[in-house]
C-alpha cells in the first residue's frame, strides 16, 4: 500500500513539474514553490476594471498595478523605463535593485497592489515597487482651526503629505513613526508618531495596542478611530484632542504626547489629553503672553456662559424673581408678560431653533449658510418676540450662549458642551438654582471618573499639578513654561535640547 502511494505521489510530482516547464517555456510567468502566482493575483482582482496589467513578452515580465493609485512619473522612471532598457537575461539583475522588493506571500502581494504599489512578475517570482502617489487635495488652510497669526498650512487626506508636514518641522532622528493597518475591509493605514526620549513608552504601547485591537470592517476618519479606542466610549466628552494643524500636532509631540494620523483623514489626534487642553489654541502661543492669557481666560468664561447662562435665566425667571434688581425687574416682567409658556419651554424652544439654524448653516454651501444664519437668526428672533413666543432677554441669553460656544477652539468639545446645556436648562426648569447646581455636580462627578489613555481627564487640577497651570489656565511667558506637561509622564520633564 505504502509503495503504491509513493509511486502515485512521484507521478503527480513529475506531471506537475512537466506542466511548469511547459508553462515557463510558453513565456507564462508561473508560481515557483512558495511564491505567489500572477494567475492567483489576477483571480483575486478579477472584475476590477481599474486594474492595469501590462505584459512585456520579450523579457517575460508582467506588471500589475492600479493606475490611479500610483504616481505616473515614478512608474515610468522606476519601473517601465528600466524594464525597457534591459534584455531578458538582464532582468534578474535589474530586479535585484533595492526598489524591487521580492514578495513570497500572495496576501501581502495583493495588499501591496491595493496600497498603490506595482507588482512585477518574472520567472515565477513576484516583486513590489513602491510608487504610491494617488491624486490628493493640495495643502490648504484649515477651515475649523483658523488662526490670525501663525502658519496657515493644514493636514490633508494623504498621510504621506501629513507625515511630510511633521517631518519638515521636527528634524530629529528621535521622531519615530509606527505603521498599523485598521479595518478588515478598508485596511486603512494608521501612523503612530512619538518622540523617543520624550514620550512615555507606556503611552505609546497603550495607543499602539488599542489601535491594533480594533475589530471593524472600516474606519473612515480619525474621529471615528478615536471613538473605537476611547477609555470611556459612553461619555459625551471627547477623550482625544484632534487637530488639523501641523504646528499643533508638533507641539503635542514635543510635549511628550503620542500623535496618530490616518490615511484619508485630514485630522490627527494626540493623547493623553485633558479637559482643559481643549480650551487652548495655537493662536495663544503666537501672541504676546498677556494677550494669549486673556484669550484663554475668555474661553473659560465662554464655557461658563455656554453651560449656564440660559439655565440661569430659566432658574431665575421660574423660581427666583427676587434675584432681579428692582430697576431691571420692570423690563424683565414686561418682556416675559406676553409669553404664554413657562420659561423652560421657552428656553428649550429657542435653543432648539438656534441649533437648527447652526446645523442648517453648516450643511449648506458657505454663501447660503451665512445667509441662513443671519436672516434666520434675526427674522426668527424678532418674529418670536413679536409673536409672544419668547422674551427679548431670553433671545439675548440664547444668542450669548450660542456665540460663547463657538469661542471654544475644539469643535467636538463645543458640540458636547452645547448638548450638556439642554440638560442643565431642563434641571433649572425643574429645581431652579438647585437644579443648576445638581447639573454641575453630575458633570463634575462624571468628569472625575474620565481618563484619556489612562491618565486623569482633569489634570492638572485633579491630580493637582500646579506647575502645569502656567500653560493651562493662562498662557505664561515662554521662560516660565520650563517643563513639559506632567500628564504625559514624560521621562524628559524639563524642556531642553536633546543631544544627538
Amino acid at each position: 500500500m505504502n509503495l503504491f502511494q509513493a509511486i502515485i505521489r512521484a507521478i503527480i510530482q513529475r506531471t506537475g513539474a512537466a506542466k511548469r516547464d511547459r508553462a515557463d517555456a510558453s513565456g507564462q510567468a508561473q508560481r515557483l514553490p512558495g511564491s505567489p502566482s500572477l494567475r492567483h493575483v489576477l483571480d483575486n482582482l478579477k472584475n476590477c476594471a481599474d486594474l492595469t496589467h501590462r505584459r512585456y513578452p520579450e523579457i517575460r515580465v508582467d506588471l500589475v498595478y492600479f493606475g490611479h493609485q500610483v504616481n505616473a512619473d515614478m512608474l515610468y522612471r522606476d519601473v517601465v523605463h528600466p524594464l525597457l532598457q534591459v534584455k531578458e537575461q538582464e532582468v534578474p539583475l535589474l530586479l535585484r535593485q533595492s526598489q524591487f522588493q521580492r514578495t513570497d506571500d500572495s496576501k501581502a502581494l495583493i495588499t501591496g497592489i491595493l496600497s498603490g504599489r506595482a507588482a512585477v512578475f518574472h520567472q515565477g517570482a513576484a516583486y513590489l515597487v513602491d510608487i504610491y502617489g494617488p491624486l490628493t487635495r493640495s495643502i490648504a488652510e484649515s477651515e475649523t482651526e483658523t488662526v490670525m497669526v501663525g502658519p496657515h498650512d493644514a493636514f490633508n487626506e494623504n498621510a504621506e503629505d501629513n507625515l511630510s508636514l511633521i517631518r519638515k518641522r521636527i528634524r530629529s532622528s528621535h521622531l519615530k513613526v509606527l505603521k498599523l493597518s485598521v479595518g478588515e475591509v478598508t485596511k486603512t493605514d494608521v501612523y503612530l508618531l512619538y518622540i523617543e526620549g520624550i514620550a512615555n513608552m507606556a503611552n505609546v504601547r497603550k495607543a499602539y495596542e488599542r489601535i491594533e485591537a480594533i475589530e471593524t470592517d472600516g474606519v473612515y476618519d480619525i474621529s471615528m478611530l478615536i471613538q473605537l479606542i476611547d477609555d470611556h466610549p459612553n461619555s459625551i466628552f471627547p477623550q482625544y484632542l484632534t487637530t488639523e494643524r501641523p504646528d499643533s500636532a508638533v507641539s503635542k509631540l514635543v510635549g511628550g504626547r503620542v500623535v496618530a494620523m490616518m490615511d484619508g483623514s485630514p485630522s490627527v489626534f494626540s493623547a493623553p489629553t485633558s479637559l482643559f487642553e481643549f480650551f487652548s489654541s495655537a493662536d495663544d502661543y503666537y501672541q504676546r503672553w498677556m494677550l494669549g492669557t486673556a484669550t484663554r481666560m475668555l474661553r473659560f468664561i465662554a464655557f461658563g456662559i455656554t453651560i449656564g447662562f440660559t439655565a440661569l435665566y430659566v432658574a431665575v425667571s421660574t423660581y427666583h424673581y427676587e434675584m432681579i434688581p428692582e430697576n431691571l425687574l420692570r423690563t424683565f416682567v414686561e418682556s416675559r408678560s406676553r409669553v404664554p409658556f413657562p420659561p423652560v419651554y421657552e428656553a428649550l424652544l429657542m435653543e432648539a431653533t438656534i441649533e437648527l439654524l447652526r446645523e442648517a448653516g453648516a450643511r449648506l454651501p458657505t454663501k447660503i449658510g451665512q445667509t441662513i444664519g443671519i436672516v434666520g437668526g434675526i427674522v426668527i428672533g424678532q418674529a418670536a418676540v413679536q409673536a409672544g413666543f419668547s422674551s427679548n432677554i431670553l433671545i439675548i441669553a440664547v444668542a450669548s450662549s450660542a456665540i460663547a460656544s463657538f469661542v471654544i477652539p475644539s469643535y467636538v468639545m463645543s458640540a458636547s458642551i452645547r448638548l450638556i446645556r439642554f440638560g442643565l436648562i431642563a434641571l433649572a426648569g425643574v429645581w431652579g438654582n438647585f437644579g443648576l447646581a445638581v447639573g454641575v455636580t453630575i458633570m463634575v462627578i462624571h468628569l472625575s471618573g474620565l481618563t484619556s489613555l489612562g491618565s486623569s481627564y482633569l489634570t492638572p487640577v485633579a491630580p493637582f499639578k500646579f506647575s502645569d497651570w502656567v500653560d493651562t489656565f493662562i498662557r505664561g511667558p515662554f521662560r516660565a513654561i520650563s517643563k513639559r506637561p506632567t500628564q504625559t509622564q514624560t521621562p524628559n520633564l524639563v524642556k531642553q535640547k536633546m543631544k544627538k
Binding site: 434688581p325 438654582n433 453630575i442 462627578i445 493637582f464
Partner: protein, 363 residues
C-alpha cells in the same frame, strides 16, 4: 497597581468634608453659648481638634499600611467586633444623611418653601451614590474640582469691609456666655472629618502623609471659620447674632450687584458641592464598616445599602429644628468615634506590639 491618594487630595477632600453647612450656623452658636467675641471659641475647638488628630499619629505610624479592620480583627474575633462596626457605620452614615437633610431644609427655607424635602434628599442621596461609585480616588478628584468651584466664595466676605466695625467686637471675652461646654460640643463637630483618614491608610503611601493632611485640612477649615466668625461678629451685633439662625446666609443676601441681588439663592446652591463631598466621604467610610460586617457585600452594594437606609432614616425628622436636634446628637456620637476609634486601634496595636516583643523574649 492601585493608585495612591496624593497628599493634597486628602487635604482638600477632608477640608471639604469639614467646611460644610456648619458654616451657616456656628456664628449664632458662638454668640449664644460664648457671648462677646465668641469667635475665639473656634480657637479652643481647633486646639482640641489638633489634640484629637495627634491620637491618629500612633495609628498611622504603627499600622504600616494595614487597615484598621485588619488591626482590630487580629486581636479580637470579627464576630465580637460586629456591634462595634455597626455603631460606627450608623454614626457616620447618619452624619452623611443628616448633613444632606439639613442642607435640604435650609434650601427649602431659602428658595422652595412649598416643596417636600424628601424629593431633594433623595436627589442628593442619588448624587452621593453616583460619586461613591467612582471610588475614593475619584471622590478625591471630584472634591478638588468642587473646592475650586466653591472656594472663591470666601472672597465675597471682602464685600463687608465697609460695614465691619471693631466696636462690635468689644474688649470683653465671653461676656454673656452660658453652658460653654455644651457650646463646645456643638461647635466641635464643625472640625470633624479628620478621623476618616484612618480608613485611608490602605489607599495611601508614605508620600500621602495622612496625619499631616488631616491637620492641614483642619487648620484651613479653622482659618475659614475664623474669618467667617470675625466678619459676623464685626458686622452683626451680639444680640442680632443670637437671634439670627443663619447669619452667613443673611450676609450673602446683603450682597448686591447692578444686575443681580439676593445672590444667596445661587451661592447656597453652590454649597451642594461641599455637601456632596461631606456626605459621600462619610458614606464611603460607613460602607467600609458595612462591607466588613458582611464580607459577601461588594463595595457598590454596601454603599447602596448604607445610603438608602440612612437617607430613609433621615426623612424621619420633619422640620429643620428636629433635624438640627438629630444633627447635634449624631455630632456628639461623632466626637465619641473621633476620639474613641483611634484610642481603641492604638490599644490593639500596642497589644500586638507587646505580644510580639513577648514572643521574641520567650525565644
Amino acid at each position: 497597581m492601585r493608585e495612591k491618594l496624593a497628599h493634597i487630595h486628602v487635604v482638600i477632600m477632608i477640608y471639604m468634608v469639614e467646611a460644610g453647612l456648619v458654616l451657616f450656623r456656628f456664628p449664632q452658636m458662638e454668640a449664644e453659648y460664648f457671648g462677646t467675641n465668641g469667635w475665639v471659641s473656634l480657637l479652643i475647638c481647633f486646639a482640641a481638634a489638633a489634640l484629637n488628630i495627634l491620637l491618629l499619629l500612633p495609628v498611622h505610624k504603627m499600622a504600616q499600611g494595614r487597615s484598621i479592620f485588619d488591626i482590630m480583627e487580629q486581636s479580637v474575633p470579627r464576630l465580637l467586633l460586629l456591634p462595634f462596626y455597626l455603631v460606627i457605620a450608623a454614626v457616620w452614615g447618619m452624619t452623611a444623611s443628616l448633613a444632606s437633610k439639613e442642607y435640604v431644609h435650609i434650601l427649602k427655607l431659602v428658595s422652595f418653601p412649598t416643596v417636600t424635602p424628601a424629593l431633594f434628599a433623595l436627589a442628593i442621596g442619588s448624587l452621593a451614590y453616583y460619586l461613591y461609585g467612582k471610588g475614593i480616588y475619584n471622590i478625591a478628584k471630584a472634591a478638588m474640582i468642587f473646592f475650586f468651584l466653591s472656594a472663591w466664595m470666601t472672597l465675597l466676605l471682602g464685600y463687608f469691609i465697609s460695614e465691619f466695625q471693631f466696636a462690635r467686637m468689644t474688649p470683653f471675652l465671653f461676656q454673656g456666655s452660658h453652658q460653654m461646654f455644651v457650646g463646645f460640643l456643638n461647635i466641635f463637630p464643625a472640625y470633624l472629618g479628620f478621623e476618616l483618614v484612618m480608613l485611608m491608610i490602605p489607599y495611601a503611601d508614605g508620600k500621602t502623609k495622612l496625619v499631616r493632611a488631616a491637620f492641614l485640612s483642619t487648620f484651613f477649615a479653622a482659618v475659614l471659620y475664623l474669618i467667617v466668625g470675625i466678619v459676623c461678629f464685626g458686622v452683626f451685633s451680639l444680640q442680632q447674632l443670637k437671634l439670627v439662625p443663619f447669619p452667613v446666609l443673611d450676609l450673602l443676601a446683603d450682597i448686591r450687584f447692578p444686575f443681580m441681588e439676593r445672590i444667596e439663592n445661587v451661592f447656597y446652591g453652590f454649597f451642594l458641592f461641599s455637601n456632596i463631598v461631606t456626605s459621600t466621604v462619610y458614606y464611603w467610610a460607613a460602607s467600609q464598616f458595612v462591607g466588613r460586617i458582611s464580607l459577601r457585600l461588594n463595595s457598590k452594594l454596601a454603599g447602596a445599602l448604607i445610603i438608602a437606609v440612612c437617607t430613609c432614616v433621615s426623612l424621619i425628622p420633619d422640620t429643620l429644628m428636629e433635624t438640627e436636634a438629630w444633627v447635634r446628637n449624631v455630632g456628639y456620637a461623632g466626637i465619641g468615634v473621633a476620639i474613641g476609634l483611634p484610642v481603641v486601634v492604638t490599644g490593639f496595636l500596642l497589644l500586638q506590639k507587646g505580644k510580639g516583643r513577648y514572643g521574641r523574649d520567650q525565644k
